[in-house]
Amino acid sequence: MMLSMTVTLGTVCGLLIAVGSNATAGNDPSFRPAQRDYILACAGCHGIDGLSNSRLIPRLKDRIGYFVNFPEGRAYLARLPNVAFSTMSDQQLAAVLNYAVAEIGGNSTPAGMKPYQAAEVGKWRKLPLTASLSAYRQGIVETLISRYRAPASLRGYGDDAYETDR
């Protein structure tokens, strides 16, 4: 039952709906396969357009692209628990990562970004980040800030009051 459980943050992916919830059958947007898979698997938390409730969940819009600037950051995205443990195939997962980085990442994505390949994703998802994830992320982020011009706000999850209050 809905009322019988509570949620441990970080274990559940949910979503911020950013499109017309009043849409009715017969006049509805359609999605490309990778976009649809992103919506079904990730947008619950991260938002259809990558705008999440960043008090709790990292914002992806104009931010996720920074992570592919160097190999460890690139691997980090594929090693995140809900990515690595996804029920999607390596090929589907690579397409979703490419969609998220190339299209949701916006200006954060470096020019000439090399797309993820299924074999690469398959390799990294065998090494899921299941311990000390926050500390590991912080190490990645500090590298992105010091070497790849990522904004200091990347230390938090997004641009909101929660972030500036900490």
């Binding site: 009322l3 359609s30 999605f31």
Partner: protein, 148 residues
């Protein structure tokens, strides 16, 4: 031929229904598009909770005084009218005590969910955890777009 000698046993209604379209879930075989206050309404295939449409809200809108959760479960439901699958976001409405609607408004849709130990794919969740108040009031089902 041997099979002609076999008795012609009548199929139970459930078995007959499954035989008609084994690809459909139990929910999909009974889904309807007319009554949004019934658990069989097509968008509620993975709705888990009390329907906001029974509590002063709509199928995708919160009742006055309740706030939609910023996070939600997302699934897909088959619309029986056009036979197409749609992406549905199940947002909870939060900030008020649980709605006291009748039992018929308490739904337990489970299409495409996995057990609790696969929590990102399980819908037994109070999605109000992202709200100022985590108090659960009722559940909505917002249509996002076509799934295929």
């Amino acid at each position: 031929m041997a099979w002609m000698a076999a008795p012609m046993l009548p199929l139970l209604p459930v078995a007959r229904s499954r035989a008609a379209d084994p690809a459909k879930s139990d929910f999909e075989r009974n889904a309807q598009t007319a009554d949004a206050t019934a658990c069989t309404y097509w968008k509620y295939c993975a709705a888990d909770g009390v329907l906001c449409s029974c509590c002063g809200g709509g199928s995708h809108t919160c009742p006055p005084g309740a706030e939609p959760s910023p996070v939600s479960w997302i699934g897909t439901c088959l619309n029986p009218d056009d036979g197409r699958s749609y992406v549905i976001a199940y947002r909870d409405c939060c900030g008020k005590p649980a709605c006291t609607a009748g039992k018929s408004c308490w739904c337990d849709g489970a299409d495409r969910e996995l057990p609790t130990y696969r929590s990102p794919l399980n819908n037994d969740i109070i999605w109000c955890f992202g709200n100022a108040s985590a108090t659960y009031h009722c559940s909505t089902a917002a249509l996002v777009g076509l799934a295929n």
